[in-house]
Amino acid sequence: MAQSLVKEFTKGLWAEIPPFRLVLGLCPTLAVSKTVENGIGMGVATTFVLVFSNILISMLRNVIPSKVRIACYIVIVATFVTIVELMMQAYTYELFLKLGIFIPLIVVNCIVLGRAEAFANKNSMLPSAADGLGMGIGFTMSLAALGAVRELIGAGTLTVWGGSPIFTIGHGYIPFKFMLEAPGAFIGLGLMLCLMNLIGQK
């Protein structure tokens, strides 16, 4: 039992890491991975929603009629997203301003709905929680990594928390602003996926 829980958890960290392996949830990935800080903020918010929606959906999986299951999932996911949104407004308003419209858009994030439909729907509560947590942490790591690459190349800085950079490339560096735009995110994502496949081949 414990072993399978660990397996459900760790598969989200490498073997099925979103968005690289699942290639789901690209909209927030492209939009908010401009800096490490935004990536982590978005990742943590998504993790919270993933874990709790997975738990609740797996608990209710025998009660929810299959014909209206998607509607039920949306209600559950939207409830948790609204809670996250209110909490962020109350306690981390600056981050809320940066992530803006992409927080409510977690409702339609394919990773959240995808895990509900593909996993929580068929498994009991504990594996579903482990799955949600693993996927969420994997998503957070991916966004942070992509954010680090984009911020480093696009702005020449690294910002982890609180708005002031912890690392700055020297004054002589001319930022490659393209990486901060959405197409830059596509290219960054593609190159990282390529790198991951290269490592996986051996």
């Binding site: 209600v75 409830t79 609204t82 407004q89």
Partner: protein, 194 residues
Amino acid sequence: MREMLSMIVVLTVLTVVSGGLLAAVEQTTKPQIEEQVLKFQKAPAIKEIFTNITNDPIRERFDVTADETTLQVFPGVLGNGQKAVAFEAKGTGFGGPVGLMVGINLDTDEIIAVRVTTHSETPGIGSRAKEDLSFVSQFTSKSMSTNFGLKKGGGDIDAMSGATVTSAAVSQAAIAAQELYKKLKPEIVKHIAN
């Protein structure tokens, strides 16, 4: 029939529980959110509107009530001794309410400046109303009796191209501010005089 019933019951129960939970969370976070909005949205907007004042409008803020309308008002004392107020009015945009902080000179009834505060407009399109000051600067020095409607509807305000809905929301907020001002000015003046 049984299946139909279970679908109705499950969905109803789920949405009712969700609604109740969200109302509770909303109630508990409300004071905290208002504080954050004051600090990160209203205070910076007021600072940009009142560039030349001798008091602290945030600390001296007060509520006025007339005809069952309550309004939070930020008083300002201008460098030349004239009195001014700033308050927020709302319009409805593309993604929900758009807040507009309006600063008015109480002695001349002229707008000092306006700034967009809270909004959920599309980034890069409607959000230009807040970021690009060329739109809101149209309001600067206009009299409070100006028609704040968009030019298309016979008013005096140029819409932002590509963001008509947001422009209309700002115009709507300005018109709401006009009405609030007309209704509440006597109360505001009375309060400041005390």
